[in-house]
């Protein structure tokens, strides 16, 4: 049996390259917020179909977050909840989902002056490792190094990480962490954890 | 020989010679006798100096000949006026809008290029009539129906380009809407195909309307932007069965819920034939029975011959009167009725009719009459007695209305249609009657007591009045003046006409004036760009080429 020494790889750490909006992360917009204060999260969203996402939700709940389960489709969450809420006042959300739900929520949030301020792509590799591609503020990335010691508990650690996400990223950076992680049978190959938060941008399209 | 405006006699003679070379000598008509055949048989200007008449007529036999004619016309700046079968009677017939134009008569182009039974469509040339297409389908034994307008001798292309209507399911009885794919000769003589037809090897020219990029087919309807030389039409597969049933409501105000429920049923496709409104009390017959009644020598307005009722109707004018309501109740006569038609599977028809009855039952005192049930195709005997256009059979029976009959011993020589679009509500019917009755009174027109709209279009009503055209010039002049006033009265109330004869096209286009005639200016910009010499149908639907506009102002 091969020795499973924990493997840590920090690639392009703290590379301060502007990340396009397409990548799901807008660069810093204002630094008015107190960097240390975490983004208040209105809802923490998980996908009921995936074990890692359920574990993420369990930890989130333990930390006092209001959790919301989906099965891939965010229509109900947005149409019957977030839309009205955001029209009143933009407020942050976080989640561990597939790419599709984030794609939708991100664009819907743009219209209320919100942006993805932290994003991590979690990909199971065929070689038994998981690759975590992180982008967010330097502080978040520093904290995210914590994932390097993670295994199957990566998703509950992620929950804890997201609740500590600062309200506004001072500077956008990227980092990749690779750790040996066994794939849960009902997890998809790729998941993404993310935080969407108000950043005080001008582009708000909601009519109040 | 009459010469087109602004064209020298020698140029015209030269052009005629070239037209003859292009289409054959026998297909260029210049003698007064032959050219007279292109007069509008129903012209309200008949016999007056300003009657709209052609200078000559040219009848090409194919698209290449059309191209040649158009190129010659460009060379000599000769106004040409295409007609398909020239049977647009009541809306201008075969006469041009600009007197002295050369009529481009497409009647010889009468090829039925394709009829596809499985995908239910046809591709035809402009000279093909509804009779032609019907006969072709019958001869081949195809299980297809053509949606025909009342007179069946017209052209599917001509009728749909003038945006006429028929009687079958909504998507078929809107004739322009039922087209799919066009071939057009442009003012510069080039041939263009629209929709999927622009794809050289197209397999779906008659199956997908809009192709890629701007969908421009509508520009060639009620317009003078091109000569349509081929057009596809979606046909209705012969249904399994037909069923009709009539809803009768007792009171004046019941018309409002009657129409609302009808709209629901039609817009959800519960009833899919043309709904047919009537008034048993006022003696207003169903449209589908109109012609048949004439056949049988009955008056179309066969209200009960009762002096009390006649007096009550006269008193009410176009208005609501409680006495009429009382009379209807007392005698048990329905105030309004609506015949619904159903095309489809036998059981589905029955279920749809049952559901319709359930919906109408919300109107207190409503009664229902079961109508005809036919398993299709019709037997020969059934064919004789039905209103043929409702079964896709072309006919000329509608001309019985203007024909000499026991009830109409001194017939007119024609008619012109005044046809505003009004909202599809009972309230609008009442308002339109009040307004037009008042206007008729002021204009001294002998209008009938109450008019009910037609339902050709699925979402709007069309209110059609026939103005007679007679032999007497003074009467015609007065009718033309009254017609013009009605256009204005209608426009003041937000009702616009859907189609009209050349005599009134400027006046009506003038009412479509939003933002200082932005739409007309748009048309003019397009016209000048694609027909810089202004040769095609000058003045049609109010669109004049630049040189005429400039000369006018």
């Amino acid at each position: 049996m091969a020795s499973r020494r924990e493997f840590l790889q920090i690639g392009v750490a703290a590379l301060a390259l502007p990340i396009s909006a397409r990548a799901g992360l807008a660069p810093a917009i204002s630094s008015r917020a107190n960097e240390s204060a975490p983004t208040p999260l209105y809802k923490v969203i998980f996908d009921e179909r995936f074990a890692s996402s359920r574990a993420f939700a369990g930890e989130g709940k333990r930390l006092g977050a209001s959790i919301y389960g989906i099965k891939g489709d965010i229509t109900d969450l947005w149409f019957n909840d977030l839309d009205a809420r955001w029209k009143k006042k933009p407020v942050g959300i976080a989640g561990l989902t597939e790419h599709g739900p984030l794609f939708c929520l991100e664009r819907l949030a743009w219209d209320h002056g919100m942006r993805v301020v932290y994003r991590a792509d979690h990909t199971y590799r065929p070689d038994g490792y998981m690759e975590h591609e992180l982008s967010g503020s330097e502080r978040m990335l520093r904290e995210a190094v914590d994932l390097s010691s993670s295994g199957p508990d990566w998703s509950s650690r992620t929950a804890s990480l997201l609740t500590r996400c600062p309200a506004s990223p001072a500077q956008a950076s990227k980092m990749t962490v690779v750790t040996p992680t066994a794939k849960h049978a009902d997890d998809p190959e790729h998941l993404v954890s993310w935080v969407i938060a108000p950043v005080g941008a001008a582009r708000k399209f909601s009519r109040s | 020989m009459r010469v087109p405006p602004g064209v020298s006699a020698s140029d015209f003679a030269e052009a005629i010679k070239q037209f003859q070379e292009a289409v054959g000598k026998e297909w260029v008509f210049t003698s007064a006798e032959d050219v007279a055949l292109y007069r509008d048989a129903y012209s309200p200007l008949m016999g007056e100096p300003n009657e709209l008449v052609a200078s000559a007529a040219v009848a090409p036999d194919g698209v290449e000949q059309v191209q040649k004619v158009v190129k010659i016309a460009n060379r000599y700046k000769i106004p040409i006026y295409p007609v398909s079968t020239g049977k647009n009677l009541g809306y201008g017939g075969s006469a041009p809008v600009l007197s002295g134009s050369v009529v481009l008569d497409l009647k010889r182009m009468n090829r039925i290029l394709e009829v596809n039974e499985r995908n239910a469509y046809a591709l035809v040339e402009p000279g093909v009539s509804y009779f032609d297409l019907y006969r072709y389908i019958q001869e081949k034994g195809l299980k297809l129906w053509v949606d025909v307008p009342d007179p069946g001798w017209g052209s599917p292309i001509g009728n749909s380009l003038d945006r006429g209507g028929g009687y079958l399911m909504p998507q078929y009885r809107n004739h322009f809407d039922s087209h799919c794919g066009m071939e057009v000769v442009l003012a510069n003589g080039e041939v263009m195909r629209t929709g999927m037809g622009a794809l050289p090897a197209a397999q779906t020219w008659q199956e997908y309307k809009s192709g890629f990029g701007p969908w421009i087919d509508g520009m060639f309807s009620q317009s003078n932007f091109g000569v349509v030389t081929k057009m596809g039409f979606w046909l209705m597969p012969e249904p399994d069965a037909y069923l009709s049933g009539t809803v009768i409501v007792p009171r004046h105000d019941d018309l409002i819920p009657l129409v609302n429920t009808l709209n629901y049923l039609e817009n959800t496709r519960v009833t899919n034939g043309m709904p047919d409104l009537a008034s048993p009390l006022l003696g207003i017959p169903m449209l589908s029975e109109f012609a048949a009644r004439f056949d049988q020598g009955a008056t179309p307005f066969d209200r009960p011959q009762d002096a009390e009722l006649t007096a009550l109707i006269a008193k009410a004018g176009g208005n609501m009167s409680p006495e009429l309501d009382d009379y209807a109740q007392k005698k048990g006569i329905g105030y309004w009725s609506c015949k619904l038609s159903f095309y489809g599977a036998t059981k589905a028809n029955a279920a749809n009719w049952a559901y319709a009855k359930e919906k109408f039952s919300a109107i207190p005192g409503v009664k229902f009459e079961e109508g005809d049930v036919y398993k299709l195709p019709l037997t020969a005997e059934q064919r004789e007695k039905v209103h043929k256009p409702q079964f896709g059979i072309p006919s000329l029976a509608m001309f019985s209305i203007g024909a000499r009959s026991a009830m109409n011993p001194e017939p007119s020589t024609g008619h012109m249609w005044f046809s505003p679009i009004i909202p599809r509500t009972g309230e609008a019917i009442f308002e339109a009657n009040r307004v037009f009755a008042q206007a008729a009174k002021e204009l001294g027109l002998p209008f009938l007591n109450f008019n009910l709209p037609s339902t050709y279009w699925e979402r709007a009503f069309i209110f059609i009045f026939a103005f007679p055209v007679v032999k007497d010039i003074e009467t015609n002049k007065k009718n033309v003046a009254s017609f013009r006033k009605l256009i204005q009265v209608a426009a003041d109330h937000g009702w616009g006409e859907y189609r009209t004869a050349p005599v009134f096209q400027d006046a009506i286009m003038n009412t479509y004036s939003f933002n200082n005639h932005a739409l007309l200016h748009f048309h003019e910009t397009v016209k000048d760009a694609i027909d810089p010499n202004g040769i095609l149908s000058a003045g049609r639907y109010g669109i004049w080429p630049k040189h005429v506009r400039e000369a006018k102002s």
């Binding site: - | 048989a41 075969s94 009647k107 000499r404 011993p409």
Partner: protein, 114 residues
């Protein structure tokens, strides 16, 4: 206009007075029958919904169906077709050519007594 009406009057009088000696050949009559079916029958045929027939009947014409007449003359037929009458419009040569019209006339006068 004036010409048309004059022509019409002329035709009407011809119809009454002119003798109709028609001796066309059978092919011509058969062709005429076909053209008649296409262009005339929808209005002048038998059965319901034939305004031409109804109109002539209302005028007291017997028989009202053109095909059954034995008193029509070639000039009268041609005049009606080329000038129309009342609500009946005239027919153009692209619809009913002169040759077609000759054939119609042959057909409708086939039973005339010399």
């Amino acid at each position: 206009m004036k010409n048309a009406r004059v022509g019409l009057l002329l035709a009407l009088s011809l119809m009454i007075t002119a003798p109709a000696f028609a001796a066309p050949d059978q092919d011509q009559i058969e062709k005429g029958h076909k053209v008649y079916d296409k262009w005339c029958f929808p209005c002048h045929g038998t059965g319901l919904g034939k305004p031409g027939t109804d109109s002539l009947a209302a005028r007291g014409q017997k028989p009202a169906v053109l095909e059954e007449r034995t008193d029509l003359t070639v000039p009268a037929i041609k005049t009606f077709v080329r000038h129309g009458v009342l609500f009946m419009p005239m027919f153009r040569k692209t619809e009913v050519s002169d040759a077609d019209l000759d054939a119609i006339a042959a057909y409708l006068t086939r039973n005339n007594k010399p």
